[in-house]
Amino acid sequence: MNIVVLMKQTVDTEAKIVLNSDGKIDTNGVTLVINPLDEYAIEEALRIKERLGGEVTIVTLGGDQATAAVRSALAMGADKAVQINDPALGEVDEGMAATILAKAVQTLPHDIVLAGVMDTDNGSAQVAVRMAEKMELPSISSVTKLDIDESLATAKRVIDGGLATLEVTLPAVITVVQGINEVRYPSVAGIMKAKKKPLTVLKLSDLGLDASNLAVQAKVLKFTLPIPRQGGKKLPGEPAEAASLLARLLREEAKVL
């Protein structure tokens, strides 16, 4: 089974987000990690490989700093990685990312392509499904359980109010949600081995692409930061008094009950 995982390096979700003087997100000094939802995709890929054999390839689009995330994925147990790193790329929207990743995945044998349902930076949940469309592959989103029997994948997808069971003949693209598995930590041996695993770094030209032909369709005009929420009052008294006071405040002051 040739398993490809789309991975993105993201800002640690515990990090404090600030804007730089250009009004962009300042990532200086911020901890960068594997997108937490992609970790579930990597874990699922490793489990499929452990059951059925095969190879797990990580594909990522990102600058020099993203190499650290690639090495972490290799340390978890992925076999090799492809990183598209081209300084000619400026702002990349979801459509562009999908175009670039599709080209990269097409160069690899792929029975199944896994990815997190979204990344915690941008949160748009678009790229993997767009890439599937670009590659004319079927896709199943938000999968919480995945079974593979030869070339047939059966997936339980989270829908509003329940679960849908879907079947697809591979190759296909599957996006996963938290809960599909428990992600392993890389072992020390894994970290050592990861340093020697093959990482291919590609430029857009290696994929037959040219930055000037890739156009942004969803343009970010500016960023703002939310006004931090202020803590309110702690209600005094014994539990019974506090509960009674709270109910009254909710009706009379907050007017929400």
Binding site: S139, L163, T165, K219, G232, K234, S244, L250
Partner: protein, 329 residues
């Protein structure tokens, strides 16, 4: 000739979802501002009766795609019929709720149409020059980005509760246009085998006006019944923090947080939840937040409008009694 602001009216089991009423109501306002018709698209089987309701919430025109093949959502079939309709009619904008359905459908549709998509938006600015500008949370709510879509139709998915549904006007009428559902066979590669819905009398987390969540302080699975009792008095949904989900006390789908559901109810009651960033990201946009926690230094109190420092096992049942009194008044 203006082509209109289009709204995807999502239905489940023959009922229009709340988010669609919110979108029709806001869409009506935008359409009035830009001088365009408001158009609803309804997809499903035996859904013709929903057109009237879409009209009451503001639609001037309703496109109806009614077919047994569209009875249940599948990515391929819905993409197939919507691509044809949008290509033929060329609307200015097509807005959908950011639901499980649209999270899957919208990127597929956007890519097939070759257009940009603003996902999970929470506000729309109507702008002379840019037409519509979309505000969306990024970095799990730690920042907002303002996105301009440079292609037409402008595609966006809208987070539930971003807009308020207006009162329906029973006198409003809409022109109803039935569209034949032509599905490309190539779009039927994924086969839907089964849909299992959890039977519950409670509202969906993302749609509920009141959400009551439990965290590590709940201590055990069976203790969630005290939250359920409180929830049922006021018609609330029950949620949980990641700690409670990871402990196996409650199913994943009830998790509120950056990797679970993002909720913005009128009232959010956090019981035994410390208030990790992960959780705040999922409920920080609630109108009023209440925290009940034994630890007076729990970070949840920094975002709560009202806090009770105390044992939730004592406080929550008392609150249930107080809420009962209020409801009966």
């Amino acid at each position: 000739m203006p082509k209109g602001i289009w709204i995807f009216v999502e239905q489940a089991a023959g009922k229009i979802r709340k988010i669609s009423f919110e979108l029709l109501s806001q869409g009506r306002k935008i359409a009035d501002q830009t001088g365009e018709p408001l158009v609803a698209v309804i997809i499903g089987e035996k859904v013709a009766n929903l057109a009237k309701e879409a009209a009451e919430y503001g639609a001037d025109k309703v496109y109806l795609l009614d077919s047994p093949q569209l009875a249940q959502y599948t990515t391929g079939a819905y993409t197939s019929v919507l691509t044809k309709l949008l290509r033929n009619e060329e609307p200015q904008a097509f807005l959908m709720g950011h639901t499980a359905l649209a999270k899957d459908l919208a990127p597929r549709l956007a890519q097939r149409l070759g257009v940009g998509l603003a996902s999970d938006i929470i506000d729309i600015e109507v702008n002379q020059e840019k037409f519509l500008l979309f505000k969306r949370p990024v970095f799990t709510g730690s920042a907002f980005s303002f996105v301009e879509i440079l292609t037409k139709p402008l595609l966006a998915t809208v987070r539930a509760k971003s807009f308020v549904a207006s009162e329906p006007d029973p006198t409003r009428q809409a022109e109803v246009i039935e569209v034949a559902a032509e599905i490309d066979p190539g779009d039927l590669k994924v086969i839907l085998k089964d849909v299992a819905l959890i039977v519950t009398s409670r509202p969906a987390l993302t749609e509920a006006d009141i959400v009551i969540s439990g965290g590590r302080g709940m201590k055990a699975k069976e203790n969630f019944t005290i939250l359920e009792d409180l929830a049922d008095v006021v018609g609330a949904a029950v949620g949980a923090s990641r700690a409670a989900v990871d402990s196996g006390w409650i199913d994943n789908q009830f998790q509120v947080g950056q990797t679970g559901s993002i909720v913005a109810p009128t009232l959010y009651i956090a019981c035994g939840i410390s208030g990790a960033i992960q959780h705040i990201a999922g409920m920080g946009a609630s109108k009023v937040i209440i925290a009940i926690n034994k630890d007076p230094d729990a970070p949840i109190f920094n975002v709560a409008d009202y806090g009770i420092v105390g044992d939730l096992f004592e406080v929550v049942p008392l609150l249930t009694e107080e809420f009962k009194k209020l409801v009966n008044e």
